[in-house]
Amino acid sequence: MTEITSLSLFELIENIKEKKISSNEVAKSFVYRSEKSKKLNAYVTENFENCLKLSKEFDNKPNFDLKLPGIPIAVKDLFCTNEVRTTAGSNILNNFVPSYESTVTQNIWNQGGILLGKLNCDEFAMGSSNETSFFGNVQNPIAKDLVPGGSSGGSSSALAANLTPVTIGTDTGGSIRQPASFTGTVGLKPTYGSCSRYGIVAFASSLDQAGPMSKDVKDSSILLEVISSFDKKDSTSIDFKRNNYSSELTKNIKGIKIGIPKEYRVDGMPDEIESLWKKGIEYAKDCGAEIIDISLPHTSYALPTYYIVAPAEASSNLARYDGVKYGLRSSGESLIDMYEKTRSEGFGEEVKRRIMIGTYVLSSGYYDAYYLKAQKVRQLIKQDFDQAYNKVDAILTPSTPSSAFKIGEKSNDPVSMYLNDIFTVPVNLAGLPGISIPAGTDKNNYPLGLQIIGKPFDEQTVLNIAYSMEEKINYKNNITDWWME
């Protein structure tokens, strides 16, 4: 039973197609392991019974032409799932049961995927350590009391612990790539507009993007192929020709030009990150890539820009939680009193902090000084990338400025927490695709990731570089199952 859960998605699909294992056997294995792994706190809502039932139905009437034939998959609890509770990690949505399905998850079920459960995340995806979730901290399977990253922390934990073969997360400022980096897994944020935002609980709409998380690059290419689609229900969904990412995947990247941005060598960056990056450059060369020094001069302005744009959009998006139509309601003497008490009790500290920042920067008299200013700087950041892409096909950077930290270590200092996303945020601001792949470990043996950033809509090149480098790096996660009951 335990062997099944350590197979890659690709291997599971092959085995199911060759009828060596059944969908139900696969589902049973992941359910069993998930039930023994409660200590990780990766799940908010389990869908185990239903998953087992649906896997049997698949086996009775199998369709092996599907891309995910009878594969159980747990997803971040930010995706609305029809008739299955969806909380976004928040008390205010504690009892929310959607009557509709997000496009991204619907795409997965249409291809034979089966919902295994809903995974913990930072509240409304606001966090970098999964510590803002109303449903408690998530353990990183790498070591006890280590954060799994965030906001897709339940996803990265469940994936690294083999509780789900692959998963999907969302990435507004690094929420797929940073947790992937912290858990020794692969996480891809696609180009803005690739994957529909319909049915994803909104955080910052001009930045939010769903993407695959997996144990290796090939699996991400399979899952991206399933979830990326044009969708009329999302007004910013883009109708472009999508590749067959998995069948076009190649390790041949000879002659590809990879840029190394000097501004990512930030002050106080640990030596081990610097040396990981250098090793990455050598791996890329070994793969046949040409390395070119580039400049992204506005890099250091990306985080301050993000911390205006994202809270502003969040304060507007989260205005809908008023205790009237769904979610938590606290009792109040008047309508306004009810609103204020509901929102005060329903939202956690970080979410309130960001709503307050967002409300402030959008308020009368401050809009030009903050929000408009940030939108202008965002333009400059995007132009940096546009210019760089005249010279190179992709960009290589570290994924994060450090490895995973201890639970509680940064939770009292919002700015130090925000600095975690220093290498990932510019990619969201410019709407580009970016992947994090495991590339080494620090002195504690905690995983470290490298990020490959691509041109808009060029996920294929990003995946190919990652696929090629992955082979050279040959990273293996050393996980001991310490949490198992």
């Binding site: 507009g193 205006i308 309508l335 939108q375 995007k382």
Partner: protein, 95 residues
Amino acid sequence: MTIDLKTVKHISKLARISLEEKKAEKLANDMNSIFEFIEKLNELKTENVEPLTSIAETALRFREDKITSDNIREKILKNSPEKNDDFFVVPKVVE
């Protein structure tokens, strides 16, 4: 620039979030450290830069204004904290 307690209370009114006195002070401190960090943007001259409002460079699509879902009243009301048969119920708003 510093954000004082009075401003924090004003913003919390605008955001419709009730705030205890003790928490307001902590929030003011947090916001000040975040804005200190944000002030860095003032180093840049941006008079002649077009603001980037959307990364997806496509025009908004039009669609016909027609009903595409059947009667979904029950589904819509299903999650409401308080309702009667046809309506969402809120605390009394008229005297």
